[in-house]
Amino acid sequence: MEIVQLVGIAIIATVLVLVLKEQKPMFAFLLAMFTGILIFLFVLGKVSTVLHVLEDLAAKSDVKPVFFKTILKIIGIAYIAEFGAQIVRDAGQEAIASKIELAGKILIMVMAIPIITVIVETVVRLIPA
Amino acid sequence: MTDSIQDLLPPGIKSIVSKLSPEIAARLEEIRIREGRPLEIVYGGRHAFPDAGGRPAAIPADAYHPGHEECIRLLDLLTKHSLYSYEEELRRGYITIAGGHRIGLAGRAILEGGRVKLLRDVTSFNIRIARQVKGCGAKVLPLLLDREAKAVHHTLVLSPPQQGKTTLIRDLVRLISEGTRELPGGRKVGVVDERSEIAACVRGVPTFDLGPRTDVLDGCPKAEGMMMMIRSMSPEVLVVDEIGTVQDAEAVWEAMNAGIRVIATAHGRDLAESSGRPALKRLLQEGIFTRLVQLSREGERFETLVRELAGQRLKQARAPDGREARSC
């Protein structure tokens, strides 16, 4: 039922943003960002429970925790990058938004390298020489 | 007596006057303030230049020199911050302040149509301190009484200037108005005070005690004054100061015909010199004045001589030495 509450807040916020937009665009932008943060925070709470469940599974299936940690980081980076890019795009700065996304992708790539090497190794090991 | 003046003095001069030695202060007659020149005080016939400490300075140079600002302040205080309301007094050249003190003014005169319109830049002040010496007339009055008519004789007070003439007749007026043993109930007295010296009126109100039954016509020329006084106040005794012109004599003559006793003063060393002047000659010849009072003074001592004019010399009345009647 939180979703109803959440959507209600969002709609109100957008109305206020519209009101503010024609007199003081700056405040509108700030308000939008603020609402974004608010909703994000709300969601984070939910995500953390999901992650705990995944973590237990990973521990049970004795997958090396390091992989799991990187995956979590990657998800975190993705979240933040996407959030930042959206806010900036909302403020009308397409260029900066795309730059943020690019940075996010690269960082994820960097994080993913050890996992990729492990995957390649297991694949090579699987192929009968 | 001098505290009413000290309030009007600017701080510098005020401190000097307050620092004067008590005996000088008691006999202080005049304070002469001149801008840029030494301050001078006159006391008991002598004069001195006090320095900042209030002690008479040996040479005038190191006496206290009042500055321009102090003179402006003094003028402002004297005229009670309203010079414009004292234009008449400025034209006359002196201001009378509460307590009967007369302050003579001198400065740059502004003429208009040949007459002095105003005194600008008043730079020298002559503060003459008046003292009401009560009782100095007590000795003289009995000699002036006409027993049968139960009234005062026509009297002429004769003396050179500054001999206590005005002080004497001021006291006579007070005594006549209050009444004495010989003159019960007193008499209605009319005073014509052209130079506002006898009564020293401030806005018409006499500052000296002239007795209950006295009316003062202040600042009005003597001739007209007497006529007005006779018509308006019907006094029994008319007192006038310093008669000198023919019109004055006419007016005195008029008053006498109206049956009013007259006490007048005149400048003159003695009978011979004053009878030389046309105005007085006629009055003296006709023997109108039946009493003549002559004042003379050496430094502190005063001498009053009362003579009956009808040639017969009356007992000589010597005023008590202690009396320090001062400037008229």
Partner: protein
């Protein structure tokens, strides 16, 4: 409950402040006009009545509203204080310095008054009338400015007061 009460109080305070400022602005031209009238009254007292300055000040103070009348009277009292050796100019300046902040008048009127005080009472009638007329002309010019200013800023202060209070309320809430 407390918060709304607090908010209301704040709003009221803001409102009152705004109104007080605009009241001051509207009172200023009135007071200047009164002052000019009083000086003209003083002019007649001095020019024709030749009444002494302290009494002239008191009689012309009767036509004034309290803060200004108090100023004139304190000047007159200071002048009459004997023994202090204060000249008319000094007592006038001191009176203006003490009493001026109570009136809602601004700096130019103060200057005009102080300038008048410098020559009050120490010159003859013509000169006094000249100075008084000069002061009155100054004041009428000032009154014109004050009137425009009031028109322009009058309701500005009112709305600003309210908005300021609302802002503080919102921030504090």
């Amino acid at each position: 409950m407390l918060k709304t009460l607090g908010a209301l109080l704040l709003l009221a305070a803001g409102l009152l402040f705004g109104f007080y400022q605009s009241l001051n602005l509207s009172r200023r031209p009135k007071q200047i006009r009164q002052l000019a009238l009083a000086l003209q009254r003083l002019e007649t007292e001095i020019g024709y009545g030749a009444t002494p300055l302290p009494d002239a000040l008191r009689s012309s103070a009767s036509t004034l509203s309290p803060p200004l009348a108090a100023l004139f009277r304190s000047a007159a009292d200071r002048m009459e204080e004997s023994g202090t050796g204060r000249t008319a100019a000094e007592s006038w300046t001191q009176a203006v310095q003490d009493g001026f902040f109570r009136t809602s008048m601004k700096e130019p009127e103060r200057e005009a008054l102080l300038q008048l005080g410098a020559s009050l009472g120490i010159s003859d009638t013509q000169d006094q009338l000249k100075h008084l007329r000069l002061a009155v002309s100054h004041l009428t010019v000032e009154e014109q400015n004050a009137a425009d200013e009031e028109k322009r800023y009058g309701n500005m202060w009112k709305s600003l007061g309210v908005l300021g209070a609302a802002l503080v309320v919102v921030i504090m809430l």
